[in-house]
Structures are given as structure tokens and as C-alpha cells.
């Protein structure tokens, strides 16, 4: 538990809480970006450089932008909630879930301490991707293509049948 780790964790959690509580949707999206950057920092701190950079590229660079676009295109903030009970119910349930998880973590794991810090060299990841994991890689490529086409088709303006 180093100091940078704690700072990064704090940024991540603060961003997440902000993203889930702020009223303006654009603020939420920006808070999400902060949280994701913090998470990327955590990855770097844990020695997974490639994952950290991919996190920044994909999430901050693409997903958040996508979300901002969606917000702009649907141009609407959340209407003020008439029922508080709803939000309270959600929070209570998530708190219960956290309690269960934390209980499991604390009681279950006399986890091993850190082994010698071993970074994952990007060349190793590249080798693994291109040899052992080549089939999943291809499948993911196919999935991305399908998602691309699917997203375009779903979001496309429906043709007017009536003339």
C-alpha cells in the first residue's frame, strides 16, 4: 500500500462517485473520464503498462467521447426525480452487495504478498497475442466489426415507408 496507490484509488473512487451522483449528464461523463484515468494510473502502478495505456486510449479516448456524443444527440438532462425512495433503494442494495463482497474478500483471502515486481513487457504480450491467443484475437476482431455494423444499423434513421 504505497502512497501513490492510495492517491490514485482516491481519484478513481471520487470520479466514480461524482459520475453517479452529479445532476448534469455532461458533468457525469467528465467525472467518468477522471475515474477512468485514475484507474489507468492504478494499472500503471500495478505494472501493467500496456493495459493502462489501452485503458486511456479506448475508454477515455473513445468510450467517453461516444457517451458525450450520445448526450449531445439525445439532448436531455435527467428530469428531477419525483421519488426519493427509488434512489435510496438502489443505494441500499449496492451497499449490501459491497458488504457481501468485502466480507468475502476480508474473510476469504490470506492472499499472498507481492512477488518480485514483474512488469509485463509489451513484446511478451504481443507474442502471446499472436501465438497462443490468436483465435480469440480474431474473434474479437470479428466482434468489433459486427458491433460496428450493428451500431450503425441500429442507430440509422428508419426509412419512411409511407410516401
Amino acid at each position: 500500500m504505497t502512497v501513490p496507490f492510495l492517491i490514485l484509488a482516491a481519484i478513481t473512487l471520487a470520479g466514480a462517485v461524482a459520475a453517479m451522483t452529479l445532476r448534469k449528464l455532461v458533468h457525469c461523463a467528465l467525472a467518468l473520464a477522471v475515474s477512468l484515468v485514475g484507474l489507468a494510473g492504478l494499472y500503471l502502478d500495478l505494472g501493467a503498462q500496456f493495459v493502462g495505456l489501452a485503458q486511456v486510449l479506448v475508454y477515455v479516448g473513445a468510450v467517453v467521447i461516444l457517451i458525450v456524443f450520445a448526450i449531445l444527440l439525445t439532448r436531455g438532462d435527467e428530469p428531477p426525480s419525483p421519488r426519493v425512495g427509488r434512489a435510496v433503494g438502489g443505494v441500499v442494495i449496492s451497499a449490501c452487495v459491497f458488504a457481501v463482497l468485502a466480507w468475502a474478500i476480508v474473510s476469504g483471502g490470506a492472499a499472498q504478498g507481492a512477488s518480485a515486481a514483474s512488469l509485463a513487457p509489451i513484446s511478451d504480450i504481443g507474442h502471446a497475442m499472436m501465438s497462443r491467443y490468436i483465435l480469440p484475437l480474431e474473434v474479437v476482431g470479428l466482434l468489433l466489426t459486427a458491433a460496428l455494423i450493428g451500431a450503425v444499423v441500429i442507430a440509422m434513421e428508419e426509412k419512411r415507408r409511407t410516401k
Partner: protein
Amino acid sequence: MTPLTGCLLISALLFAVGLGGALSRRSAILVLIGIELMLNAANLNFIAFWRYGPHPEALTGVIFVIFSIAIAAAEAAVGLALIMAVYRHAKTTDLSRVDSMKG
């Protein structure tokens, strides 16, 4: 508290925050953001187990997270496209008013 436990707790907290948001917010976009947070919590778990697990040289956790990120990108694209379609159809992204699938 070992570093692994710390990581796992942070990840659980992140997950709980995401879940709470997804359960209580009414905007479809915010629900999607919550889901993204939960997914990232899971990714953090993978990295933590890889880093502090018995076989860091196996790279399994890292590879898994890379694939997970790729799939999350696809999921976000399709999810947002669905939100656009729903918005165009129902003129709202308020999930409490999108309930035409009720039994």
C-alpha cells in the same frame, strides 16, 4: 492489509458505486456509465490477481483485460446506438418511461 486485499476492496467499492448508480439513476446514459464502472471494477480485479497471484509470467490476467476492454468498446458502441434508437422511438432516455416490454 495486504496489497491484494486493498486492490480487491477498491475494486469492490468501485463496483458498488457503479451498481448503485445503475440502480438509482433514470437516464439510460447514466445507467450505461454505471455498467462501464462495474466492468472496470472487474478489470481491476484481473490486474490485481495477475500482479499478486502465483504466476505473473503467464500474462493471463493482462490478456483477459485487453480482450475485456475491446469487448467493452463494442458494448458501449452498441449500447449507445440502442439508446439513440430508443430515444428516436420514445423521445426520451428516461428508463422509467421506457417500459413497453412489460408483461
